[in-house]
Amino acid sequence: MQPLLHLDNVSKRYGAVRVLDGIDITVADNEFLTILGPSGSGKTTILRIIGGFEGIDGGRLMFEGRDLSAVPINRRPFNTVFQDYALFHHMTVAENVGYGLKVRGRPKAEIAERVAEVLDTVGLGTLGGRYPALMSGGQRQRVALARAIICEPRLILLDEPLSALDVELRAQMQRFLKSLQRRLGIAFVFITHDQEEAIALSDRIIVVNRGRIEQEGAPEELYRRPRTPFTASFLGDNNLIPGRLAAVDGRLCTVDTAAGRLDATVDGPAPAPGSAVLLAVRPEHVRLDADPAARDGLPADVADVRFLGANVMIELLTPALPGAVIKVRRLADGAVAGLRPGASVRLGWAADDAALLQAAP
């Protein structure tokens, strides 16, 4: 099937600085796609290129098979929700929301009707006469969304729209965004640096770093099977253990590390035996045995125990892996109540929970 939008090998430079380097992104109809990356990764530039606010230096931007590169911003069938909303402060909410229809020359009565409809959709039914300055952050957010959806665009671009909201409101807006997107059936391209937000919202996530795509896939896939060290550490916590690939047997691999031979699993093509690799183990997947009689696993000492509410984060030092701090996450229940810094434990993990990554060159 033809994708709705296709960024085909797109490059962008600012002077001598290459901000995007051969980016290839497709957006499918009705999909909630998140572009996730740290600041400076080029994610905002991708959004600005799609929106038409930036030109491109290489590659093509295709919309349903047509080249969009030469189409000016105001002719693109996309609308944007800006990071700080960019609501016109001299217009009422209704005027803001209806602006897209006004500049298309629609009759006043139709505009009024559509504005009322859209304001209902975003849950601001009665606030059309207000000025944005008198509204809360969450309300402004909804106005910006209403303004973006009123022209029934094929795609909505959202530039970190939740970053200005406090934690509680953020969670609420996340649920709202997700349900709105399902109801409207419009593709959302969402930019964020917040991995939890990306995981909670998206059908698909594209992780970008330094102007390149690191990895893309469904949230669960990215979380469980990171393929690069960057993805592994940017999406949630990971313990990364360096080593050299010894042998591959189907999905199962054996890796030579400072702590001896360790098992891991790999999805897709495995690196060549002998190459430098990393083992990625989630803190919640590390097994921990405080029984002094235990003989399985690597001996380690508890360095720190931090109470995080529902969870406890335990940091371990093991003589087998000098210089490495192994993080372990546990529910804060009785099983870890007795752990104190200095206690001796043994740690380990299932081969299935250790993902094999190609080490960064």
Binding site: N74, F82, D84, A86, Y99, Y131, A133, R147, C151
Partner: protein, 292 residues
Amino acid sequence: MGVMNTPLRRDRQDLLRAGLGHALNLGLPLLFVVIPILSFVVVSFWTLQDGQILLIPTLANYRAFFTEGSYLSVYLQTVGLSLQVTLVNVALSTAIALFIFRRTPRMRFLILMSFMLPLFMSYIIKVYSIRSILGQRGLLNEAMLGLGLIDQPIEALLFSRTAIFIALAVLYLPYAILPIYLALDRIPANYLAACADLGATPLQALRDVVLPLARPGIAAGAVFTFILTFGDFVTPQMVGGTQGFTFGRIVFSQFGLALNWPLGSALAVILLATTLLAVALAGLSLRREHVR
């Protein structure tokens, strides 16, 4: 007692210092700004008899404005002239400010500076230079003659209402450009992005967002231009000749040749009231502005 003594003395010292601060910061402006203004308002109610100012209150000076000579008609003409200059300059300045606003940030500063630079050329010399350009044998006439655009030098260029109009417009143009540009500069950059994103053409964005948000600057530019042109008495004198008898010149002459301070003060009160009215009108036109 010894323990109590120090803080008490400290308090008194602080009080003294605060009192001195108020006295200086409120007293100096009161002395050098407010009292002088009040004093000329007071003088406007005094009587002039045989060249002597008598402290007898009268409204005669104000009556003179309405009844005697050509004060009222010159006043109205001057208001008209200033309004004309204001209108033309605000229109030109809006276009120029928009031109600057649409350049790249790097260019904006340079272009803005080049429009502001003439402000730092001596005022009096600019007036003289304009006069020599406009004169019957001036550069403009000679140039047009040389190019064959006209057969006879245009005499009406200098010592006419047109001459005052041109001179005032040229002299005070930068005063309108600056506030309008600064208002444009305050428009958040992503408003224009949002306009385009919602489908607006550049002209629609101009009409719906840029110009409405530039209104405070346009009002400020209009007020500056009106106040400065209305009060200027040197330019009309130098390029207007006998035709250029503006209200400001009449006021000034009461303190010079005519030497009638009470009448001059009364006329100045009217001039002041007119400028305050202009400020109030501009303020009123902005009442509908909304806080961000």
